[in-house]
């Protein structure tokens, strides 16, 4: 394995604010091919997994990103005096509808939740968790919503297909009712 390439890739992932994709790295290192870069990223990820440090490389939003392990949360949250506002249950429910049913229009979300979601959509847009995908060819040309890359990044998802399938959830749902 090309050790210098590995360190260059590591430095890029380390310095990047967003998860870095193999493609983005490739653009910075035109003489390398995507396969090599992918291999190096996988190797780095495995290395940090074994190193037993306080942070690892995780694969989110189709890219790679350094982040701390969950068990250090209390200390870091205290340090950052977590001004990050948490999402309310209502916001989380709306977000999951968008995630699972996208592309989706507001009216459909409201049908599923049974309540108005205007303010929540606005909040989710503001937080960059959902985005406007386009417009539906219906009267009034309603806006279609979908999730963003930030959504994947925040919720530790590699891509949309790594969302737990709705079938699993259905089973869970039944259990819930039975108990």
């Amino acid at each position: 394995m090309d050790n210098s390439l590995k360190l260059i890739v590591e430095s890029l992932v380390f310095a990047s604010e967003e998860p870095l994709t193999p493609q983005q790295i490739r653009e910075l290192l035109p003489e390398k091919d995507l396969k090599e870069i992918r291999a190096v990223l996988a190797e780095l990820k495995a290395e940090y997994q074994h190193m037993k440090r306080s942070f690892i490389i995780r694969e989110v939003a189709k890219g790679y990103q350094f982040c701390t392990l969950p068990r250090f949360r209390p200390y870091i949250a205290k340090m950052l005096s977590s001004t990050q506002s948490r999402l309310s249950t209502a916001a989380l429910e709306t977000l999951s509808i968008v995630a699972y049913k996208q592309p989706i229009i507001r009216q459909e979300i409201e049908r599923l939740r049974g309540v108005d979601v205007g303010g929540i959509l606005r909040l989710l847009l503001k937080k960059g968790l959902i985005r406007i995908v386009g417009r539906k060819p219906l009267p009034g040309r309603p806006i279609i919503y979908g999730t963003t890359r930030t959504f994947l990044e925040i919720f530790d998802l590699k891509d949309l297909s790594s969302l737990p399938t709705l079938k699993e959830i259905e089973e869970l749902g039944d259990e819930e009712v039975e108990q």
């Binding site: 999402l87 249950t89 960059g128 749902g173």
Partner: protein, 239 residues
Amino acid sequence: MPFETKLDVFEGPLDLLLHLVQINEVDISDIPVATITEQYLEYLDLMRALDINIAGDFLVMASTLMHIKSKMLLPRRDDDLEEIEDLREEIVRPLMEYIKLKEAANELASRDILYRDVFKRGIEMNGTRGEEDNINPSRINLYGLMNAFKRLIKEKHPGAVLRFKPEPWSIKEKMVEIRDKLKGVKTLSFRDLFAETASISEMIATFLALLELVRTGFMTVFQEQDGSDIMIEVLTKGV
């Protein structure tokens, strides 16, 4: 007011219905409509008695429930039974979907969420980019763009296109915001402090918050020379 926060736990009719199904420990596909309807209406009465504003959605569900209940009380013919089943479906299906969606939301909430459970490397944003637009940079997203435009229209053409409800700005929130703004930077210009304020009431709240921060010794304001920008500086390492 304290009643409102205590009682207003149900997000909507489905949320209330699900709660009733759960406390009655009944099978969702075989809801005892009469009992549930009664309890549902009791809850609405309670809300009314406490002067809580009942959203229209709750009433729509109430009428659906009552409709089913009345159908079930009437003498039945075969097609009545079918109609009752259809009506029940109208409630059961959305409720099933609602449960699914609640599980999906729980699933999301239980993941290792960035900024809650795990954290990225802290990157100093100021001065690291060496670009001319480094002052007050905000991350590009559509919401930001939309908001920027809305703000401008509001400032320059008040009342022309839009009507705005007064926004309740709290001085306390603004104090937190000012402290956040000064995180990672030594000083901030007075002008930049107001760069994103959208309304006069917000500007006033921001200004009062600044005065409070200065009074309590968190920050100080100074001027390099007469007529130059007023600068704000953090004195103590904020909480």
